[in-house]
């Protein structure tokens, strides 16, 4: 049974991405609702269904929770039609989280691409609220174009801070005349700006293709698989380990994830990097078509 929440604030992050600031209608629920950085929830637009996003605000922020979503499908389109003061449903929090306790005393490297910044932003803000407990912090965030960058206000604040290094990049062709950040894909920018791999934990979120090309770079720079954390974003429906949609092998991403280390992902059946298999199948299909 979802809780109902009021949309307190709508922030248009980019032409297709929107952030809702939400407060539970029931004061008791609002007080009791607790989560950890990396957990997700099921948000419903009643009449069109539910959609899965991470909780994008920091757990240290007690007054409200935020979610950011890119308009893609039926539910996100429906959510976009809602106005300030309207009601949405929230179920959660579900899934596991980033083990911030274990990160204490270490350097942190955040790498995000596109909407993948949402879960990373939750961790960043959580960490910045406890800044003294972590060592050097580096943030690398890339988007397709300048207008696709989200959390622009917060990026400004991060850039202004002396105690973190913030590198923002856009894909070639996505820059504007006044763009003062980097231009290039995330893996290349990472190569130039990566901190020492020693005693550093990586938090990596982004589209599958970015993760695929970033991982070899990280490995090349000496980052260990067990210190690279990422979130797997599979399609989900129930969030309760029942509906069978998100599983990879024995793992239900909604229960055992969404946060995994790269070492853990490598142990799973390789349903994501399975390009060899795909190519073999294409060849077969072509052969079939040729007769």
């Amino acid at each position: 049974m979802p809780h109902t929440a009021e949309i307190k604030e709508i922030i248009d992050e980019s032409p297709d991405t929107r952030t809702f600031r939400l407060r539970f209608r029931d004061a008791d629920t609002a007080d009791r609702f607790e989560f950890k950085a990396g957990q997700f929830a099921e948000y419903s637009a009643f009449g069109d269904g539910e959609s899965t996003f991470c909780i994008a605000s920091s757990p240290t922020q007690k007054d409200y929770i935020e979610c950011s979503f890119k308009v893609y499908g039926k539910v996100t389109q429906s959510l976009r039609r809602l106005n300030k003061g309207d009601t949405i449903g929230i179920r959660g929090p579900y899934g596991n989280w980033f083990p911030l306790e274990e990160f204490k005393g270490k350097n942190l490297l955040f790498i995000a691409g596109g909407i993948g910044i949402a879960p990373v932003r939750c961790v960043i803000n959580n960490v910045l609220d406890l800044r003294d407990e972590f060592k050097d912090i580096t943030i690398i965030y890339g988007a397709r174009s300048v207008s696709d960058l989200i959390y622009k206000q917060e990026i400004k604040e991060w850039k202004a801070r002396r105690d973190i290094k913030t590198v923002i990049t856009v894909d070639p062709g996505g820059e504007t005349a006044s763009w003062d950040g980097e231009v290039g894909f995330v893996p290349a920018v990472l190569e130039k700006n990566a901190p020492e791999s020693e005693n550093t934990v990586v938090i990596l979120c982004g589209p599958p293709v970015m993760i695929k090309f970033t991982m070899p770079v990280l490995t090349g720079l000496g980052f260990k698989d067990e210190f690279v954390y990422t979130t797997l974003e599979n399609r989900m429906k129930c969030g309760l380990g029942k509906c069978g949609r998100c599983n990879i092998g024995n793992v239900y991403v909604c229960k055992d994830g969404p946060v995994f280390t790269y070492a853990e992902i490598k142990k799973l059946p390789q349903e994501f990097n399975n390009f060899k298999f795909q190519i073999a199948n294409y060849k077969l299909q072509i052969a079939f078509l040729k007769g």
């Binding site: 009643f46 893609y72 003061g85 309760l240 399975n274």
Partner: protein
């Protein structure tokens, strides 16, 4: 759900008395289900009830009575800005299933693990609690049956609360397996005569059983080592992704959640059957699809049944009923596939 009682009672009941019990069940307002050709259906009139151990399994198991094809999980009412949520009352009528095939009888036992790990699904549990399963020995088998390969058999009592063995045309041996079964049958104990275990044993021992087609532990091992086997391509190219196999399966349990508006202000959230063979089952909104081609989806199906579920819950997610193969429009036969997995010469299909 099923607790094995200490003493296993064996009784004899005549066909007429069995029908009397059924009549009473119906008169008390409970639902009585028996297997038909297509489905397990509700019996209104016991006079034409036919308990045939040699019947072909119905096309669909009784899964839908505990995990319906579609059911509301909540209702909502929208006013100007607010939304009001209303709980669903789960129908808690007692359901007696008379003549469940042994392969079907075990299905709830297999599914209950999934519906109760971590979060308990109240919809499933409430219905399962109200189920009385009266199993009937099965003397049918065809080329699709393989219950004996997945740890069951035509005389398996697993999952039944009460188990029947036809002794002759007019009498059945009745074994009371669980406390639930005992509680159900106690009011009718006047109908029961004391039984002779040797007599029923002679029958069960002589039932023709499907040959063991494969060793499930070897299949388990093969699947672990052959995730990327080119063998998956053969069946992937054959399969139509229609997912009938999932719908007729007594233990497939994937579902979808969707909203349905029935007026501008009111609607309900529905839980519907879904199938892992559909192309859009794992399709992300972004267009990325982890299981984008049929061979990956079929691989998921076989792995889930014979490896993942075993890892997670210690049981094979299959009862060996053969429905998926019997109903497949392109004759994909799961028994053949897993039996041939180790055979290098043969393509999986």
């Amino acid at each position: 759900m099923t607790q094995r009682s200490i003493q296993m009672d064996e009784k004899i009941i005549s066909r007429v008395d069995l029908l009397n019990i059924c009549q009473d069940v119906i008169e008390k307002g409970n639902t009585l289900l028996t297997p038909g050709v297509a489905d397990y259906s509700v019996v209104k009139d016991v006079s034409n009830l036919n308990l045939d151990a040699s019947a072909l399994p119905s096309k669909i198991s009784y899964k839908s009575y505990v995990f319906p094809r579609t059911e509301p999980v909540l209702y909502y009412k929208r006013s100007k800005n607010d939304v009001q949520l209303i709980d669903v009352n789960i129908d808690s009528k007692k359901i007696v299933i008379l003549g469940a095939k042994p392969c079907d009888a075990n299905s709830l036992n297999i599914m209950k693990h999934l519906f109760n790990w971590d979060y308990s699904d109240e919809f499933f549990n409430m219905r399962a609690k109200n189920f009385i399963v009266i199993g009937l020995m099965c003397s049918h088998f065809d080329e699709y049956c393989f219950c004996t390969s997945v740890g069951s058999s035509p005389v398996s009592e697993k999952g039944s609360d009460i188990f029947l063995i036809p002794l002759d045309e007019n009498n059945y041996a009745m074994k009371i397996i669980t406390d639930k079964g005992k509680e159900f049958i106690t009011p009718y104990s006047g109908y029961l005569k004391s039984g002779d275990e040797n007599r029923s044993k002679r029958i069960t021992e002589n039932v023709k059983q499907p040959d063991v087609a494969f060793d499930s532990s070897e299949v388990y091992k093969w699947l672990g080592e052959n995730f990327e086997s080119p063998k998956w391509e053969g069946v992937g190219n054959l399969c139509l992704s229609c997912a009938q196999c999932a719908f007729v399966c007594p233990v497939c349990h994937c579902f979808d959640i969707t909203d349905e508006d029935y007026s501008y202000t009111e609607g309900r959230r529905m839980k519907n059957w879904d199938g892992c063979q559909f192309g859009n089952f794992t399709l992300h909104a972004s267009g990325h699809n982890p299981r984008d081609i049929q061979s990956k989806r079929y691989r998921q199906r076989v792995n889930h049944k014979f490896r993942y579920y075993v890892n997670k819950f210690g049981e094979i997610l299959c009862t060996g009923c053969g429905r998926c193969s019997r109903g497949c429009p392109v004759s994909v036969d799961i028994k053949e596939i897993v039996s041939n997995c180790k055979n290098d010469q043969k393509e999986l299909r």
